[in-house]
């Protein structure tokens, strides 16, 4: 291996790592606020790529049908919950939120699909569609059992992953898609070549991470989510609704996943079931951060990306084996350094 290959692999690894880092942040965010280990995050990544690919081809993406279906179920669940508590007056507002907004988003995407709009607009539509899906699924699947143990929530996550993979096949079909690169430019420094695409991905990730930092540090909603993460009951006592915090978290996390999908689309061909492996790589990064530390999770994710790039060079057949076996020494290290012995829930 010479320097240029090493440089190429590093570039490749950092690019992928930056994408996994976004995912790892989403996973840490969801876990700290809601205690949910969000296995289905990968499906959101895949949906985003496939949505953008659909828009590129000028046909309405499968996300529209999915969004409409999920919104109807969410509206039904919300109506039943409202009826049980006899809060009929609040129903119109709730239906507007749970049914109106998703239907509006779906309608706009459907209307815009054949128009061959510029890439930036299509990306925005993709982000909107996939982000809307997050809170809806939280409402249907997780909110009714928000107080369950981490383990029950995890099993539910796996079940949801199952269902979403199957639905992905139904709505998007079995063909894989790849979205065109945002830019073909590349530039040379010495004997090293940098692709603008890679730089764009890393920059986009960095900007998003910075935005998250500002959101959590400076904005009231961000602070509310942090408070919920630290102490759920305390946050509730000062007037932060846990369901609102959950829905907001899922919106944010879905947005991050959608970004991942958009960024990963030009790098690799994505199928309806590709998301799982991608999300698990984010998980390996997140676990390096103990599922609670954002900077460590992001660093871990970059490490995963590098590891993947270099192992695909040396032993490409065993790429996945190597990436997922790394979790064992990481866990061993965490197990030996963690003295915190908490009563299991």
């Amino acid at each position: 291996m010479d320097l240029s290959i090493a440089a190429f692999l590093t570039q490749d690894g950092v690019t992928n790592g930056a994408i996994y880092a976004l995912l790892a942040l989403a996973l840490v965010l969801v876990f700290t606020v809601t205690r949910i280990i969000w296995i289905p995050s990968g499906e959101f990544v895949a949906y985003a790529t496939l949505t953008l690919a659909g828009l590129q081809l000028g046909k309405p993406p499968g996300t529209i049908g999915l969004l409409v279906g999920v919104a109807i179920v969410a509206a039904a669940v919300e109506t039943i919950a409202t009826a049980r508590r006899g809060e009929w007056r609040r129903l119109p507002r709730r239906l507007a939120a749970w049914l109106g907004i998703p239907l509006a988003v779906a309608a706009i995407v459907w209307w815009a699909a054949p128009l061959a709009l510029p890439l930036a607009v299509q990306v925005a539509l993709t982000l909107a569609a996939v982000t809307t899906l997050g809170p809806l699924l939280y409402r249907i699947v997780y909110q009714p059992i928000a107080d369950a143990s981490v383990l029950v929530l995890l099993i539910v996550s796996v079940a949801l992953h199952f269902a979403l993979t199957g639905l992905g096949l139904w709505f998007f079909g079995a063909e894989g898609s790849r979205t065109p690169a945002f830019t073909d430019a590349s530039f040379q420094t010495g004997q090293l070549t940098f692709s603008a695409q890679a730089l764009l991905v890393v920059a986009a990730s960095a900007i998003l991470i910075g935005a998250l930092y500002l959101f959590f540090g400076r904005m009231l909603y961000g602070k509310a989510l942090r408070a919920t993460a630290v102490n759920r009951i305390g946050a509730r006592l000062v007037g932060i609704s846990p369901s609102f915090a959950g829905a907001l978290t899922f919106a944010l996390a879905s947005l991050l996943c959608a970004f991942c999908g958009v960024l990963i689309g030009p790098i690799t061909t994505v199928y309806y079931d590709s998301g799982f492996l991608i999300s698990l790589k984010g998980f390996v990064g997140a676990i390096i951060g103990g599922l609670v530390s954002y900077p460590l999770a992001a660093a871990g994710a970059v490490l995963v990306g590098l590891l993947e790039a270099f192992s695909s060079f040396w032993a490409s057949a065993f790429k996945e084996v190597i990436v997922f076996t790394v979790i064992i020494p990481v866990l061993l290290w965490r197990s030996l350094t963690t003295h915190h012995h908490e009563e299991d829930e």
């Binding site: 280990i37 699947v141 269902a163 199957g166 698990l280 076996t325 064992i328 299991d344």
Partner: protein, 580 residues
């Protein structure tokens, strides 16, 4: 039970081959699900990687029989040994941490092993391995599926029997306490981390056996049936059937297998295209189940069956008690300059006092005085910052709770820590954990009955001693709070302690209950028990104790008989905020 076995036996004789095949798979899946009942339903840990252990068993035998012509009966122990090593390693790494690391690690391990199977040329890669020999038993070749059916279900029933035995035994009680009662169980000598690893290894070994059977049934293997998706389905089986009961494993395996078969036949017809629609149905069903019936199908079935009467407590000689040789000139427990600091906050500051043999000593003080911290220091729940605590002259200041329990110090909890779903008898028997020796293997094979009878006799005797004999077989959670506190005392007594630590035993009790408690403690004292009482309730303490220690702001304020303490101006000031 009888109906079940007869129905089982009838399948290979009367049913068409399709049902025999289905029955074979149900048996194979049941074996894996049984392990998950123990691991997930009972011990509260989750694994998505069981399919990988099945694969380990299958690939070990496939490789050794096809490559080296080894006898399948020899490859089984090899596979089990391999599984043991892997499960021990994974368990050691993950089970010391919080519950969600094990499932995540098993996901990663499940995927790694799948890709490993698929990419290793010498294991046949993604195309797999063929030509695996069939099993023969005592010269009889089990080529026919009907014959194999007998073997599979023989092993399934044996696994069911062993798992049931295990749950109804000394380690079983401890396993059942892991979910929601870990701290309590550890105070009675249960090593939680070790038991969790045992449960994980047990489940992995069952999965390995299932894989070994699978390889010789199919006589062809490839990586697909051992991927993560199958691992998840195994967990679904256990949860759907009802992971709290061994029967849940059989029901779950049957339901999921039959349902999957039906969905694969029916759904493409309805939906008009081919695809993996059964996973959507499975996912949705699973979500609904966990939202509305978290304990699975079995509780609904169990309600229809007649409730089994509890087995009467056998008339067995009690377990051996510890020798009580004590140097009468020395106090039983000595606290010397004990100090506990949480960062900058000193909760207990150079506290020194003794507990004399045979006395009832009260530790009182206003809120925040450091009583509970002192209690935690003596019981080993918190480590000392400085100073020493000696029990019979032996330093216990740095001991783990279970070592302190082993030396003969029994405790109760300020907030009642009983296992509400278990009977009073089982709860109290858990207190005698350290007095028994029966391990997992002995219990699973039912060789522990003599010791178990003696343990139950001890538990029943302690329940009678505290006056709750009529509630022996009731669920502990069904008793009122006052009686639950008494059950806690019976559990502590079952450990055969010479010092009893009671943390606010009278809190939340009504007047008559308090009187009954005081009578009980006095009668225990007459029988030679030494008691340390941390209490809030002045009236209760004044009438009962021989001596009192008063704490305030982490320090000892006064010490002496109750009458003297009541007149002590310092104590009055601490409680009433100064005398005008």
């Amino acid at each position: 039970m009888l109906v079940f076995v007869v129905a089982l036996l009838a399948v290979p004789i009367v049913a068409p081959p399709f049902w025999v095949t289905l029955g074979n798979y149900i048996g194979l899946y049941s074996i894996v699900a049984l392990g998950l009942v123990l691991l997930t339903g009972v011990a509260g840990q989750t694994s998505f990687g069981q399919a990988a252990f099945v694969g380990l068993g299958a690939y070990t035998t496939a490789y050794l029989t096809t490559r080296y012509g080894a006898s399948p009966w020899l490859t089984l122990p090899v596979g089990l040994a391999l599984t043991l090593v892997v499960a021990l390693g994974l368990g050691f790494i993950t089970l010391r941490m919080q519950g969600h690391y094990l499932p995540l690690a098993t996901i990663a391990w499940g995927i790694s092993l799948y890709f490993l199977f698929g990419n290793l040329e010498w294991l046949g890669g993604h195309t797999g391995m063929t030509g695996i020999p069939s099993l023969s038993l005592a010269g009889f070749d089990l080529k026919d599926e009907r014959h194999f059916y007998v073997l599979i279900w023989g092993i399934t029933l044996a696994a069911l029997w062993a798992t049931r035995n295990l749950l109804d035994s000394r380690p079983g009680r401890a396993l059942r306490a892991l979910k929601g009662g870990l701290e309590m169980a550890e105070a009675f000598g249960v090593n939680g981390a070790r038991l969790k690893i045992i449960a994980f290894v047990y489940a992995a070994l069952l999965a390995c056996i299932s894989g070994w059977l699978y390889a010789h049934l199919q006589r062809f293997i490839n990586p697909t049936p051992f991927d993560l998706r199958q691992g998840i389905e195994y967990l679904f089986m256990a949860v759907v059937g009802g992971a709290g009961s061994v029967w849940g494993a059989i029901i779950g395996a049957t339901l999921i297998t039959v349902l999957k078969q039906m969905l694969q036949d029916v759904l493409p017809g309805i939906l008009g295209r081919a695809g993996n629609f059964e996973i959507v149905v499975f996912g949705v069903l699973m979500i609904l189940l966990l939202q509305f019936a978290r304990n699975g199908v079995w509780p609904f079935v169990a309600r229809l069956l007649p409730r089994r009467r509890p087995a009467p407590v056998p008339d067995a000689p009690p377990l051996p008690t510890r020798e009580r040789t004590h140097d009468a000139t020395r106090p039983l427990l000595e606290v010397k300059g004990a100090r506990k600091a949480f960062g900058g906050l000193v909760a207990v500051n150079d506290l020194t006092f003794d507990i004399r043999n045979g006395e009832i000593l009260g530790l009182i003080g206003p809120n925040g005085a450091g009583k509970s911290t002192t209690f935690a220091l003596i019981s080993g729940a918190l480590p000392l910052t400085a100073g020493a605590i000696l029990f019979r002259g032996e330093s216990i200041g740095s001991h783990e709770p279970y070592k302190i329990a082993r030396l003969g110090i029994g405790r109760t909890f300020q907030h009642v820590r009983l296992l509400p779903q278990m009977s009073v008898l089982d709860n109290v028997a858990l207190g005698a954990y350290l007095r028994g020796t029966a391990g997992v293997a002995r219990s699973a094979l039912r060789l522990d009955r003599d010791e178990e009878a003696r343990t139950r006799a001890v538990a029943a005797a302690q329940i009678a001693r505290v006056g709750l004999g009529e509630h022996t077989f009731d669920d502990a959670g069904s008793l009122p709070l006052g009686k639950q506190r008494i059950v806690e005392i019976a559990r502590a007594l079952a450990a055969d302690p010479s010092l009893l630590l009671l943390d606010e035993p009278a809190a939340g009790l009504r007047y008559l209950e308090k009187q009954a408690l005081a009578d009980l403690l006095r009668s225990l004292q007459r029988e030679g028990m030494t008691i340390l009482l941390v209490e809030h309730d002045m009236e209760f303490v004044m009438g009962l104790t021989d001596r009192l220690i008063v704490m305030d702001f982490g320090e000892k304020l006064a010490e002496g008989p109750p009458e003297a303490i009541q007149r002590d101006p310092l104590v009055v000031e601490a409680y009433l905020g100064g005398v005008a």
